[in-house]
């Protein structure tokens, strides 16, 4: 059994097969099935309408109310209540109330709910994040979640794999976000449609876990089914003392078959920015000097982790946000919030004139907590810049790493962090 990618091996193991090949159709067992306050209510309605009375395993269903929470209005409160009641009724192990909850794709890896070798499905497109841990993890819909909650399985067509090799030296102002923006800029928003995206090479093997999570998070923005990094010492160090199940470490065979291989030398690749209204409209930050911003958002499942806040704080320390610009900082989880508090980062943000909020997806999807008016422009460390994504259809969103967002908050224009 050789000549397989890590993605093929994880799917085979969960489908009870010795091996699978691209194009095979399988029903695979899931280790964790995830839903949030937008997608789980529909899944719960489907689950109950089908007359199912028990979830397949109360420890394998995770419900995370993170999108419109703390509840922004009566309707969203009703949606959250559906999750809460279901979680209590079925005695789910993995349900977090406001005060414990965080942005799902930051929360689950941090809490050790997902790990290497897992097969995870989530009714949220950014579920592909966990591939950073060496898991097969993919976004599905609410009905898939309902079926998985009932029988613990998901239907999958085995994807072929695109291999992305990053060589050279990473620029000091660039991170995982810039590598993935570069990738999407090169291959387009459907450049990896239905495919697995495997990230490898000397730049990746030296990349921190939080940067890998940022990268895999945005595989979906290239249409990918999953993003994945073969686990290594950095993975083992990250999951040590936090993973609640046993890790299984898979690797890609040396003679594994890839549909296509890309190799990029990223030496000199500075911070990248995705311009409105598609994540593929990627330009170097230096080409956008004249773009005036109204808002900067630092947070989300892409870049709301501690290392992201540290980068932003380093730039904002002892300075003031440009008059007329709103800068929002949203720690992705309660643990990130607490760590940032203890390190003094939150004080730096408040003194710089930033608004610091409780963990929420909030403005990323135009939900609440930072919506844009017509004609307004935001720079955000989030993952999507579609028309109207953060508010009015005539507002615009530029996507960047946290250093660029923080530097831009200080100048009121899109700015390279080395210039502040």
């Amino acid at each position: 059994m050789s000549s397989h990618t890590i993605t093929e091996k994880i799917i085979a193991a969960h489908a009870g097969r010795a091996e699978v090949n691209p194009g095979d159709f399988v029903y695979a067992g899931v280790d964790i099935a995830l839903g949030n306050d937008i997608t789980a209510p529909i899944a719960i309605r489907e689950f109950e309408a089908a007359g199912v009375t028990k979830v397949f395993d109360p420890a394998r269903v995770a419900l995370v109310p993170d999108h419109f929470t703390p509840n922004k209005d009566i309707k969203s409160a009703e949606q959250s209540k559906i999750l809460r009641d279901f979680a209590h009724k079925h005695k789910l192990t993995h349900y977090w109330e406001v005060g414990e909850v965080g942005v799902e794709h930051a929360l689950l890896p941090e809490q050790g709910v997902v790990g290497p070798g897992d097969l995870v499905i989530g009714a949220d497109s950014h579920t592909c994040t966990y591939g950073a841990l060496g898991a097969f993890s993919t976004g599905v819909g609410s009905t898939d979640l309902a079926a998985a909650m009932a029988i613990g399985k998901v239907w999958l067509k085995v994807p072929s794999t695109l291999k992305f090799t990053f060589t050279g030296t990473l620029d000091p102002w660039s991170g995982g976000k810039d590598l993935i923006l570069h990738t999407i800029g090169q291959i387009g928003v459907d450049g990896a449609l239905y495919r697995a995206m495997e990230f490898t090479g000397p730049v990746i093997t030296q990349l921190s876990m939080e940067d890998r999570l940022s990268m895999c998070n945005m595989a979906i923005e290239a249409g990918g089914k999953n993003g994945i990094v073969v686990p290594d010492a950095i993975t083992r160090e990250y999951v040590k003392d936090r993973l609640e199940r046993k890790a299984v470490y898979y690797t890609s065979d040396a003679d594994a078959r890839y549909e296509k291989c890309y190799e990029w030398n990223v030496t000199g690749l500075g911070p990248m920015v995705a311009c409105p209204n598609l994540p593929e409209n990627v330009k170097p930050v230096g080409e956008l000097k004249d773009v005036v911003i109204d808002q900067a958002v630092i947070g989300s499942c892409t870049n709301g982790r501690l290392s992201d806040l540290r980068i932003a704080a380093k730039i904002l320390k002892g300075r003031r946000v440009f008059k007329g610009v709103r800068c929002l900082v949203i720690p992705a989880t309660q643990q990130v919030y607490l760590d940032a508090l203890r390190e003094g980062l939150l004080e730096i943000f408040v003194q710089a004139g930033c608004a610091v909020s409780a963990p929420t997806c909030g403005p990323c999807l135009g939900g609440h907590m930072g919506i844009l008016a017509a004609g307004e422009v935001a720079i955000a460390t989030t993952n999507r810049n579609f028309t109207g994504r953060m508010g009015h259809t005539q507002s615009q969103v530029y996507l960047s790493n946290p250093a660029v967002a923080a530097a831009s908050a200080l100048t009121g224009k899109i700015t390279h962090p080395a210039e502040v």
């Binding site: 937008i38 529909i42 419109f68 459907d190 135009g366 999507r384 579609f386």
Partner: protein, 163 residues
């Protein structure tokens, strides 16, 4: 099924099909009222149930929200024909029984207001206005089983009862 065409471009995303600001509800009828609103604010005033959406590449990209195919279905969209579909939208449509047809040639040749005739069982798309027709490759058998059962939950519960 026959219907008049509403034509859209490539990369129609789920934020355009149903904007996130309406996702504090999961009621299909309410979602349907805002279908395609951010691409065409008056779409639902002009659209008639039974009509067909035709689009370019990567239809339904972005979020996993099943609200998107649900809203289209509840609005009365008979089918979506596209050059290609984003993968989560694709599986959601299969799972809830929204008819979808992947046919790049038909998507390219069809214009706003054309009349289409879809024969999903036989795998054929006809443009009645232009007098053109194209064959469509059938879905894999496993997907056809889900469609035939009336969606994934029916399929799964039937299987569970059959055990």
């Amino acid at each position: 099924m026959k219907g008049q065409v509403w034509k859209f471009g490539s990369n129609v995303n789920t934020d355009e099909i149903i904007p996130a600001r309406y996702l504090n509800s999961s009621d299909p009828a309410e979602l349907a009222r805002h279908c395609m609103e951010d691409l065409d604010a008056d779409f639902m005033k002009k659209f008639h149930p039974g009509e067909i959406i035709v689009a370019g590449e990567n239809f339904g990209c972005g979020s996993s929200r099943e609200h998107a195919p649900l809203a289209l279905k509840a609005a009365g969209v008979a089918a979506v024909v596209a050059a290609s579909f984003a993968r989560i939208f694709f599986r959601n449509a299969i799972n809830i029984g929204l008819p979808i047809v992947e046919c790049p040639a038909a998507a390219a040749a069809t214009d706003q207001g054309d009349a289409l005739d879809l024969d999903l069982a036989r795998g054929a798309v006809k443009n009645l206005t232009k007098n053109l027709s194209w064959p469509v490759a059938p879905f894999p058998k496993e997907m056809q089983d889900i469609i035939a059962a009336g969606g994934l939950m029916n399929f799964v519960t039937k299987q569970a009862k059959g055990k």
